[in-house]
């Protein structure tokens, strides 16, 4: 006899429930619409198998934790929490958080930087059915006509046209907690300069994930790449014409249906040649 959720079940029933559990774990990516980077949770990653042109589909912690012997010397979970959230040091000064969620392509291969070894030897692909960024609009002061200092933030969901799942360049690093011996694989999404569309959506930073074609994704994972080619692929910009997007509810992260389109009549359209043309909501959905 076995127990599941503290309830007595037969061996057969226990195995059935564990089987469902295993399937859910393997497909965790598909059961969640929204993975919030700042949660430092698990995300699905295509991890190349060494020596052959094949990959495993694994879960990794999103938020790269560098080798603990290198700066910023994250040795324990407590260190990781402090570094990721920021902390007040012994002199009372607040040390800004370092989340390592995104690896800036232009800095990827700089010597002694945290991402270099991973970019050279541990490249991976992070599949996505859509990602989220906020467009900052500064309303005009009705009296002075000048932009207000505080922006109104509109969330967008961005996808690749005609792709249920698309590929983002990533790098990964195994990290071990010195306190517990726990070993985890952690990853970061490589980012590049925003294209015409993304520079208007993510207009505060003008960056975007490095979204790769099938061929480039394959090369990123399995190619014997020199530094020049790694840098070229890492900086690759998907053409703006290949993107599709729509706006979401401002509180979409807490919504029962976080990917539902919400239209803001006063929001200026994205300025692209020929005018804004959008894919109707739902057309690109993974599960439609």
């Amino acid at each position: 006899m076995c127990y599941y959720n503290a309830q007595k079940v037969t061996h057969a029933e226990f195995l059935r429930l564990k089987g469902i559990e295993k399937t859910l774990k393997e497909h965790d990516f598909f059961t969640r619409y929204v993975i919030v980077g700042f949660d430092f949770g698990q995300t699905t990653v295509l991890k190349p198998i060494e020596g052959i042109e094949d990959f495993e589909i694994v879960q990794m912690e999103w938020g790269f934790l560098p080798d603990s012997l290198k700066w910023p010397f994250i040795e324990t979970r407590e260190d990781a929490f402090k570094i990721r959230r920021g902390y007040t040091d012994a002199r009372g000064k607040f040390v800004q958080p370092l989340n390592f969620l995104n690896a800036v392509s232009e800095e990827l291969l700089i010597r002694n930087k945290v991402y270099r070894e991973a970019a050279l030897h541990r490249r991976c692909i992070i599949p996505s059915s859509g990602f989220y960024d906020w467009r900052h609009i500064f309303p005009l002061n009705k009296r002075t006509g000048q932009p207000l200092k505080t922006a109104v933030k509109y969330p967008y969901r961005v996808m690749v046209k005609n792709k249920e799942v698309f590929w983002m360049a990533g790098i990964w690093q195994q990290w071990t907690d010195a306190d517990t011996g726990e070993t985890v694989d952690t990853c970061a999404v490589v980012t590049t300069e925003a294209n015409l569309v993304m520079s208007q959506i993510h207009n505060s930073k003008k960056r975007m994930p490095t979204m790769l074609t099938d061929d480039l994704a394959w090369e990123w994972m399995f190619g014997k790449l020199d530094e020049k080619r790694i840098s070229e692929i890492a900086r690759w910009q998907i053409p703006w014409q290949d993107l599709t997007y729509y706006t979401l509810a401002k509180d979409f992260l807490n919504s029962g249906d976080p990917i539902k389109e919400v239209v803001y009549p006063d929001l200026p359209p994205i300025d692209i040649p020929g005018g804004e043309s959008k894919t109707p909501q739902g057309q690109m959905e993974l599960f439609s």
Partner: protein, 86 residues
């Protein structure tokens, strides 16, 4: 990679309970009934399934383990919704 875990749109439904919108989606991972449930509140999503416990009739349970009471409560709400909307 291309396996669809979710059934089609018509296997999704939402309803209100206790001031919260509850969105349920049937999962295609078992011959039995399994739902992925999300909430308009900050409550974490949950997966629930029917399980055949030894000392009672089949009941709802959370997968993975740990949220049995929530699973039973949500299961009852889902049954109520389906019985009045079928």
């Amino acid at each position: 990679m291309d396996r669809k875990l979710f059934y089609e749109q018509d296997e999704q439904f939402s309803f209100e309970a206790y001031g919260v919108t509850i969105h349920c989606q049937k999962l295609d991972i078992s011959k039995d009934v399994v739902y992925h449930v999300t909430f308009s509140s900050n409550r974490k999503p949950i997966v629930i399934a029917r399980a055949r416990f030894e000392e009672s009739e089949a009941r709802w349970t959370s997968i993975p383990e740990g949220r049995q009471k929530e699973a039973e409560g949500l299961g009852a709400l889902i049954e109520q919704y389906l019985s009045t909307n079928d």
